[in-house]
């Protein structure tokens, strides 16, 4: 509750002070989507103020779309914007986190070297036992996760792969400029899946919530699948726009 600041000595109404404190905490990222807010009673008791002031503050925040009440559960932060993206732009650029813009952050949460993964290895035409780098990143927009991405780069195509990748947050630039490959095309499949508990935890959604799942094969000019990307988007908060003309 440390984000609520009340000064009883100033003329600004207490309910407005509560509402703006909470708004500030949400905008700054201190409070995130689905975070639970204190009950009205807790705020009243902590600050020695009337129930009406807290009620009014919460009403304002509900009207502003910052918070929501769930009957029998409590009050939660709900300000999570829907991320709109053009499907084709996504499948090319955004796909590999190329167009990370203002307000977005991208963190590598795992660097690993794996030797097997049945489905992925089949799609990459790799044999079990062959080494492959795995980089998992999480993209957030104002603290809300918008994309969980797993990048697979086989050892045989990236033998000198090292920490250089860490410095490059653009995958295609890394593949083309640092590793000297020319990408011929990207082959993507798009489907809806239920979030596993791990995916849900990272994307701040509930287990089994729908996710948009895109798998992309990165193919070079020799027709080798030199890279593979799995992207997971929270379904409720991601919309893809498509304009399709009649053939």
């Amino acid at each position: 509750m440390e984000y609520i600041h009340i000064n009883k000595l100033i003329t600004t109404s207490i309910y407005k002070q509560i509402a703006s404190s909470i708004t500030e905490a949400i905008v700054s990222g201190l409070l995130k989507y689905n975070d639970k807010l204190p009950t009205e009673k807790e705020i009243c008791e902590s600050f020695g103020i009337s129930n009406t002031a807290v009620k009014m503050a919460y009403e304002i925040l509900i009207t502003d779309g910052m918070i929501k009440r769930i009957k029998g559960k409590g009050t939660y932060v709900t300000n999570r914007e829907i991320n709109h993206t053009d499907l084709h732009a996504f499948l090319t650029a955004y796909n590999a986190g190329e167009n990370i813009s203002d307000g977005y952050t991208k963190d590598i949460i795992l660097f690993d070297r794996i030797r097997k993964d049945h489905g992925i290895y089949r799609d990459m035409k790799l044999d079990t036992g062959e080494k492959c780098y795995l980089i998992i990143t999480l993209v957030k927009s104002y603290q809300n996760p918008v994309l969980l991405q797993k990048v697979y780069l086989p050892d045989k195509y990236f033998p000198k792969f090292n920490k250089k990748y860490d410095e490059f947050n653009k995958l295609y630039e890394f593949i083309e400029n640092v590793c000297d490959y020319k990408i011929k095309h990207l082959h993507s499949t798009f489907r809806a899946i239920n979030a596993s508990s791990a995916e849900a935890l990272l994307l701040n959604v509930k287990t089994s919530d729908a996710l948009s799942f895109v798998r992309t094969q990165i193919v070079n000019e020799s027709d080798d699948i030199i890279g593979y990307v799995c992207s997971y988007f929270p379904g409720d908060f991601t919309e893809f726009e498509v304009i399709a003309d009649a053939i």
Binding site: L87, H88, A89, L91, T92, A93, E98, N99, H118, G119, R122, Y172, K182, I183, K184, H185, L186, H187, S188, T189, F190, R191, A192, I193, N194, S208, D209, A210, L211, S212, F213, F233, G235, D236, T238, E239, F240, E241, V242, I243, A244, D245, A246, I247
Partner: protein, 263 residues
């Protein structure tokens, strides 16, 4: 459909791997190499256990793991079938009809009209949909199921303005391809389709219609269709079965357009 799936599923009794793991691997590789196609019915755990002379619990364990990984699906009547869908289609990124997509999947298409009625939309809804709110607020609402080989693939709800399509309730029976009808009887072509695609959990009603479990993942597409005069002629929303997906190939040329001109 395979004539005898039982013969295809094998286990190696000398292997150190647990039987359920072996079974899972065996079935998964049959699905991935397309020996077992989408919707192929699998033997019941009891039948497979008896055939392989192993404990039924091990077959159930393998099936459960495959279901968790979304390779197979357990229907309400207890039948396991392949849910992995390995077919290319371009419904979402190209302006083809659902009918054509189903044919391109190698399936026999059919349409069933679940509901067809004239409705009156309020001004706010009309505006939200993007129709002309100055015109009549009468619309034809049709809710239809698309099947491939008699299995549900997609459910589609359309809203068609009567100010563009007068008497459509009487003229269109609901079981035929829609755009063909609009072209034939009204001379209206589907030129551009603007779609918003997202992944959603199916509610109970849609899940029942698509023969899926409640909360199964589904691709939802909200579509605005325009004619040659850039006039909105149809607003629709579709939901597909959970194993439905689409593929797309982005060439170097397209990549360069986005990657190197964006900055």
């Amino acid at each position: 459909m395979q004539s005898n799936i039982l013969d295809l599923i094998t286990i190696d009794r000398r292997s150190a791997l647990e039987y359920d793991t072996q079974l899972k691997k065996s079935i998964k590789s049959l699905i991935l190499d397309k020996t077992l196609y989408y919707r192929t019915a699998l033997p019941t755990p009891k039948d497979l256990a008896e055939f392989l002379i192993i404990n039924e619990k091990l077959v159930k364990s393998a099936y459960n793991q495959l279901e968790k990984e979304r390779y197979i699906h357990l229907s309400k009547d207890g039948q396991y079938s392949v849910s992995f869908f390995e077919s290319s289609n371009h419904f979402f990124d190209r302006n083809t009809t659902i009918y054509e997509v189903i044919i391109s999947l190698g399936l026999e298409p059919s349409i069933e009209c679940i509901e067809k009625r004239i409705i009156f939309l309020n001004e706010e809804t009309v505006k939200q949909m993007g129709f002309d709110s100055d015109k009549s607020n009468e619309y034809l609402y049709i809710n239809r199921m698309y099947f491939g080989d008699n299995q549900p693939i997609m459910i589609l709800e359309n809203y068609l303005p009567l100010y563009i399509f007068p008497n459509i309730f009487e003229k269109f029976n609901g079981d035929d391809p829609l755009y063909q009808h609009l072209k034939e009887y009204y001379g209206v072509d589907n030129i551009t389709s603007r779609r918003t695609i997202k992944s959603v959990n199916l509610n109970q009603r849609l899940a029942d219609l698509l023969n899926e479990a409640k909360n199964a993942p589904s691709i939802q597409s909200t579509n605005h269709v325009y004619d040659r005069f850039n006039r909105l002629i149809d607003y629709s929303r579709s939901h597909t079965i959970s194993s439905y997906y689409f593929q797309t190939l982005i060439t170097r040329e397209e990549m360069e357009k986005y990657l190197y001109t964006k900055n």
